[in-house]
Symmetry: C2
């Protein structure tokens, strides 16, 4: 099958490149460590010019050989590559947004070899406390593609900064961010709680569940700043072993996050997108919290990038080569 589109998922710490064929089928994919905070630095010739620009170097490493073979392939990218610290800033679009409004707002940057890279803008919810995302909007659109048109759904994207995105009639109308993943990492690495944790290969289900239940209990109403200390005291009183403490903390924090979701979400379809191990944790915690309809989505990013490229007219919806 002939390649139709190069799609890049370019975040803070990694860069994933997809060569997509007709109807967005994945022909080839690669993962590089060249996130926008970890760009290559070694100078190289690109299109006959000595180049030191990290974005150009990473772009060339990700898909230069694909473009050598097919120089006119359209290129689309999402994620932090479009942030103020990225290759070129793609201004946020305000909620509500859908695949059509985002697809028509792609921001272009011309690479050294003359290829235009079309960057998906991030999304801002400006009302009240402002909220932003970059990359997750594309994953959400990828999930929607496999649902009936006009679906109402809540999409959870666990990670460093977990997003919960509300979709009404196929449009992103609202979203919240929870810094659960980043906070868990720095608590384990830099706080007193990490000092007594012992790494453990096996998932400590009982400790995880206990953490979720504490977040939902009357103790949990004092908030995370208070319940966090129990990860230490339950160790001191020998109720948690050193091996159980990390999963207890994980359950506790995810439990607090889920307690912050609107109550109405309990009876709504929920779809999780992200690394499978992490989504499985969330699925378990959601069940404990009484969320009834939870499923997992796959390949959301590449599907979303394909949809946006179609909307932008960069490629055709279902050409068979």
């Amino acid at each position: 099958m002939q390649a139709q589109l190069i799609a890049l998922d370019w975040g803070t710490s990694s860069l994933r490149a997809y060569k997509l064929g007709p109807a967005g089928v994945v022909l080839e994919q690669r993962a590089l460590a060249s996130g926008i905070m970890h760009l290559p630095t070694e100078a190289r010739d690109i299109a006959g010019v000595r180049c030191t620009d990290g974005f150009e170097l990473a772009f060339d490493a990700a898909c230069g050989d694909w473009l050598d073979v097919a120089p006119h392939l359209p290129v689309i990218a999402c994620g932090m590559v479009g942030s103020a610290q990225g290759w070129s800033e793609a201004a946020y679009r305000a909620t509500p947004v859908d695949v059509s409004s985002l697809g028509q707002a792609l921001h272009r940057v011309r690479s050294l070899r003359g290829v235009e890279v079309h960057i998906v803008p991030g999304v801002i919810e400006p009302d009240g406390l402002p909220n932003v995302m970059r990359g997750e909007e594309t994953q959400v659109l990828g999930v929607l593609q496999s649902l009936p048109a006009g679906a109402d759904v809540l999409i959870g994207l666990p990670g460093s900064h977990c997003k919960w995105v509300k979709v009404v009639e196929g449009r992103i109308t609202h979203f919240d961010t929870f810094m659960t993943g980043e906070l868990f990492a720095i608590l384990s690495k830099h706080s007193i709680l990490g000092r007594t944790q012992k790494p453990c290969e096996q998932f400590q289900a009982q400790a995880f569940d206990r953490g979720v239940h504490v977040a939902l209990s009357a103790d949990g109403e004092r908030g995370l700043l208070s319940t966090l200390f129990s990860a230490r005291t339950l160790g001191l009183t020998a109720e948690l072993s050193a091996e159980q403490q990390a999963d207890y903390l994980s359950g506790l924090m995810i439990g607090h996050e889920l307690a912050g979701l609107p109550g109405s979400a309990k009876h709504q379809p929920i779809i999780l997108v992200g690394a499978v191990a992490l989504c499985t944790r969330y699925q378990r915690a959601l069940a404990l919290c009484g969320f009834a309809h939870v499923s997992l989505a796959q390949e959301a990013t590449e599907r979303g990038l394909w949809q946006l490229a179609v909307e932008a007219g960069l490629t055709q919806p279902a050409t068979e080569a």
Copy 2:
């Protein structure tokens, strides 16, 4: 005036030594960096013996010269020195406790020079999620000394691990811990929120107040994991300058802490103990949260240690030399 007692406030990162005279008046005091995690390591002769023990070395540095002059002075100590990682473990006493029950439960360790050091036990609240403190119980008893006997009061001790201690009829009946101080420090140092903060000498009152208000708002009900991200997005939308971000975060976190206190505390006398700058922040936030009766206490530790020494019979309540 003649010295009556040596009192040590010996925590994780510092060691404060007080030479107390009649009625507990402070004759001399010192602050050393020799907390139990930062003990001296250089060998020295103590009482004619070559010594390498960090606790002995720190003890000698803190009050060896006072004991040379008056070898029979009683010595009392509180704080992490009595923890499992301390000089000698003073087992926790369970709530409820008062000055009398703690004073009669001092734990003794004999120093190289033959002097007994009397260590105040920490306090544990074993019911429900367990909670512990070491050192704060002594400060609470020091505060109570200046109140009418049998007072009912809520005592707040801001710090790395902020304690809120409920006192009913002169007894510690319940307490909560909030990891506000430690979490603020690691978020500022190790998270994405710290990257855009610019240090600022001047207290940013407006930003601090805004943080408190956000914690109390409908947005705050999603919990700290969610509102934390606003410290970043309000920067992105230019609603907070780089200089304001740290105080916004401080107000936000203290606001969430105070939102976790029982509602009944609003009409109760509250007394704050700790570093003046930090207590002033809490006082401001408490006012914004509608807590009506707040005051600050001074010299709580040395007063508490004196009271406990009196209860233990180590010294006399009000001898005039």
